[in-house]
């Protein structure tokens, strides 16, 4: 490797760092002020790119010049900025005070809606963008050719940094952004018009995302997967830099850019893994990123989002549970093949959702990457059968062990964090697993996955396999449920309610969370293993972000405050999906809108709504003080 090569490589690293910074700065500013991690930031980036490939060619038709190109880029970014402001007014404004999990999900709802909108407007095919006039040539640096546009991008990043610095230091708006990032309550107490500050911030953040997207059009073909692929990278940059810190995002983008530029030479296939590993290491050393500050959660303990009171089953509950089990047992006898298939899927998803709820509802550990353990179980079972030559029985038993082992490994890092950083790290680990399964084509079959994951001959009929699934899922769910009521579950809940108090009565908070994470991962892995045999195949969608989100939606739909909520949620969600998905081309839009609606209207889910309904029909409690 000679010097000129190293320079060229690090220059191209700088160019991607520059793009990353422009996008990440928007996300980090929005988070600093609103405390919302905007999943839709990647969608804003994608919108910027799509708008630019539409607008820029029109302007270039008028005059093929660089200023026209830049004008088109700016217009696109401004439109995205307005879109962001509208998003604040319509949605975000209503969710500032809901728990982080709900905020993440609601903004993910926007991701789904934008995806379908983009497909509807621009179609699903890739669109190559126009090149930038006067920047199409290469520049020779130490006898190596380097694209002029990449140099331009490096400059653009520096210009954005400078403009942001001026904005933050010299304008009232910038001072308010910095003030709100430090102490939102104080800014509100000083009589600042919060509404405009927040709308303005979203405009700025969305503008930066749109700008980042629009600037990409000469480099990459525009496609509908841009949103998710960029958002994970941008999450990593903002988390490493410290959420809310613009300089942090800049430094982190520089590091990531170089890591990618040189990592690709050494480990061409796993640069993404390198990036996430870096994030894991940074978070373990500095749990709030390089420049981030801890959220000082002072004041009286707030009520956690999750299971609040454990009720024992009453007579009614026992009857309902007994009926449900009776229906399940009757299904293979009386149900048709299709019903049995749906039954298997519901059972598997119910176990996965229940295991996630064990983390969120009991432990307060908001995992945004639970599909990783579901997928690991599925891949473990699938690969053991197809490549390992094992039969179904040992494979199903090994699936939870392997998934649990990975959960133990990842969980070791995860339980060191809290809040949004924890959610981001679980997401990162899930993306590592996804990337490995996606890219390691020889072993995992890549995008296509592996087919031929069939049960043993005695269980090959759907009806028999249903009974296998029922036995496994039911016992796992009952075991997990029992753990919630046992000291282990209580200690986990104690650590969630007050880590300080738990520590002061001898509970090793990290250890108990780590055990819970491992246990939950193993249970999800069992679900995944069972799922792979019912599908007959494995593929990366089982590990993808949408899968993780599906699990979260099941938990929320069922009701996060009740123990059996996720079971109801899994059944309801899967039935709705199974019914509606074939009927509409806009399933994602429908799902996205439903998620947003659920967060806004039914935050306590079906079980919560049912509980408040029964409360309404109970006789009103007698007033404590008799009227005189």
């Amino acid at each position: 490797m000679d010097l000129s090569f190293i320079i060229i490589q690090s220059l191209s690293g700088l160019a991607s760092a520059s793009s990353l910074f422009i996008i990440a700065s928007g996300l980090t500013i929005v988070f600093g002020v609103t405390r919302i991690v905007n999943f839709a930031h990647g969608s804003l980036y994608m919108l910027g790119a799509y708008l630019a490939v539409t607008i820029v060619p029109l302007l270039l038709d008028v005059d093929r010049s660089l200023p026209m190109f830049l004008l088109g880029v700016l217009i696109s970014a401004l439109i995205v900025g307005v879109f962001g402001a509208l998003m604040e007014i319509i949605l975000l404004r209503r969710i500032y005070h809901v728990p982080e999990l709900f905020q993440l999900l609601a903004t993910f709802g926007v991701v789904l809606i934008v995806q379908d909108l983009v497909i509807k407007i621009w179609g699903a095919v890739e669109i190559p963008g126009p090149r930038a006039p006067s920047l199409r040539h290469g520049v020779f640096i130490m006898d190596q050719r380097f694209p002029a546009y990449e140099l331009f991008l490096i400059a653009a990043g520096i210009v954005v940094l400078a403009v942001l610095w001026l904005l933050m230091q010299k304008t009232r708006f910038g001072v308010l952004i910095r003030a709100a990032t430090q102490d939102r309550e104080m800014v509100a107490a000083l009589g600042v018009n919060q509404a405009w500050l927040f709308t303005g911030t979203l405009f700025l953040g969305a503008f930066l995302a749109g700008l980042g997207g629009a600037l990409q059009i000469p480099r990459v073909a525009i496609n509908t997967q841009m949103d998710i692929s960029i958002i994970t990278e941008v999450f990593v940059v903002t988390v490493i830099g410290g959420m809310g810190s613009v300089p942090g995002a800049f430094i982190a983008a520089l590091i990531i850019g170089q890591l990618q530029a040189f990592g690709i030479l050494i480990f061409p296939k796993i640069t993404l893994v390198l990036v996430f590993l870096l994030m894991a290491v940074v978070l373990v050393v500095k749990p709030w990123g390089l420049f981030g500050k801890s959220d000082a959660a002072a004041g009286r303990a707030i009520l956690p989002e999750g299971i609040l009171s454990l009720k024992r089953f009453g007579t009614v509950d026992n009857i309902v549970a007994g009926l449900a089990i009776a229906v399940l047992l009757a299904l293979p006898v009386f149900g048709d093949n299709y019903m049995v298939k749906v039954g298997i899927e519901v059972l598997v998803l119910a176990l996965a959702a229940f295991s996630l709820h064990f983390l969120i509802g009991v432990g307060g550990i908001v995992s945004f990457g639970h599909a990783a353990y579901f997928g690991l179980g599925a891949y473990a079972a699938g690969l053991l059968v197809t490549k390992g030559g094992l039969s179904m029985e040992p494979s199903i038993l090994l699936a939870p062990i392997i998934a649990g082992a990975f959960a133990a490994l990842f969980g070791y890092f995860v339980v060191r964090l809290s809040g949004i950083y924890l959610a981001m790290l679980t997401l990162a680990f899930a993306q590592i697993v996804y990337a490995v399964c996606f890219q390691w084509v020889e072993f995992t079959g890549g995008d296509n996955g592996v087919v031929g994951v069939w049960p043993s001959s005695w269980a090959s009929s759907r009806q028999v396999y249903f009974c296998v699934v029922l036995a496994f899922t039911l016992s796992a769910i009952i075991a997990l449920r029992h753990a919630i009521y046992a000291p282990f579950g209580y200690a986990l809940r104690a650590a969630r309610d007050s880590a300080t108090r738990a520590d002061a009565i001898g509970i090793d908070v990290r250890r108990i969370r780590w055990f819970a994470f491992t246990l939950s991962g193993a249970a999800a892995g069992l679900a995944g293993g069972l799922y792979s045999f019912s599908k007959g195949s494995i593929d990366p969608t089982m590990i993808s972000i949408p899968m993780s989100v599906d699990f979260l939606v099941m938990v929320l739909l069922g009701g996060i405050q009740t123990v059996i909520g996720p079971l109801v949620g899994a059944a309801a969600f899967h039935s709705i999906k199974d019914f509606f998905m074939p009927l509409t081309d806009f399933w994602r839009m429908f799902l996205g809108a439903s998620i947003i609606l659920m967060v806004l209207v039914f935050p306590r889910g079906i079980s919560g709504a049912a509980a408040s309904l029964t409360d309404r029909f109970k006789p009103a409690p007698k007033p404590a003080v008799a009227p005189s």
Binding site: A301, L303, A494, D503, I505, G506
Partner: protein, 259 residues
């Protein structure tokens, strides 16, 4: 043997000296108050004893055993129960379950997945609640209680491990005057009966002078006075830098109330 012996504790946060050569001792059954203006280093000293902070130098001996640098849960295991300035309880649990949780932990059953938690150590928990006058509320969710009652539950939790020493950081902060006196009375009674040493910080001079056997005055990380309430009250330096006229008046009032 001296229950708690602290020698040469130092702690700096950047340029700020939060504790400088802090040294004191506490006998079983005694109540020692740490007072001082805001930022004097009371909580720092406190957290170094409780394990929440690691001292830069110095030693903390509990019944002759060094405990500085241990994690809070290990400090607890060795016999230090603690309450917090802002009450820390398990808000999703009932009053009894809060205490049961501490008992379960004390008996090393945290990792158990056997019998249900709510059936374990209930009689013991009810006895402890009786001690602090909260038995009647045993099955109420702790989040429904008035703040003063939450503080009492916290005391019951702290007593669950039969501690040798109680650490109470501002035990009466945020409480109504009447509740304050009650809580301090309960604490003093339990401490004397069970020979538990109590180390507490407090802003309420009435509570301090009425209940402390000894008082430690901390200013800017340094101990400027250490003695019986009467000695501290008449200490010219303490009057000058901390108590002022109002504080002395409160101290006099407290003494009259005690006699």
């Amino acid at each position: 043997m001296t229950l708690l012996k602290v020698t040469g504790l130092n702690k700096r946060f950047g340029g700020v000296v939060a504790a400088k050569d802090v040294a004191f001792a506490l006998e079983a059954g005694d109540m020692l108050a740490i007072i001082g203006p805001n930022g004097a280093g009371k909580s720092t000293t406190f957290n170094m004893v409780g394990g929440q902070l690691r001292p830069d130098s110095g030693q903390v001996l509990l019944a002759g055993q060094p405990i500085s640098g241990l994690a809070p849960r290990e400090v607890w295991r060795r016999g230090i129960g603690r309450t917090f300035q802002i009450a820390q309880t398990f808000v999703s649990m009932s009053v009894a379950e809060n205490v049961q949780m501490a008992l379960i932990s004390w008996h090393d059953q945290i990792m158990s997945v056997g019998a249900r938690a709510e059936t374990r150590y209930r009689p013991e928990a009810l006895d402890l609640l009786d001690l602090v006058g909260m038995r009647a509320d045993a099955d109420r969710p702790v989040r429904e209680l008035a703040y003063g009652d939450v503080k009492r539950v916290e005391l019951a939790i702290a007593l669950a491990s039969a501690p040798k020493l109680l650490l109470m950081d501002e035990p009466t902060a945020g409480m109504a005057p009447k509740e304050r006196a009650q809580l301090m009375d309960i604490t003093a009674t339990i401490a004397r009966q069970r020979k538990i040493g109590v180390l507490f910080t407090e802003h309420d001079m009435d509570a301090v002078f009425a209940h402390a056997d000894r008082i430690l005055v901390l200013v800017r990380g340094e101990i400027i006075a250490d003695g019986k309430p009467d000695e501290v009250r008449s200490n010219a330096r303490v009057k000058q830098v901390y108590l002022g006229d109002m504080g002395v008046a409160a101290a006099m009032r407290a003494r009259r109330g005690r006699v």
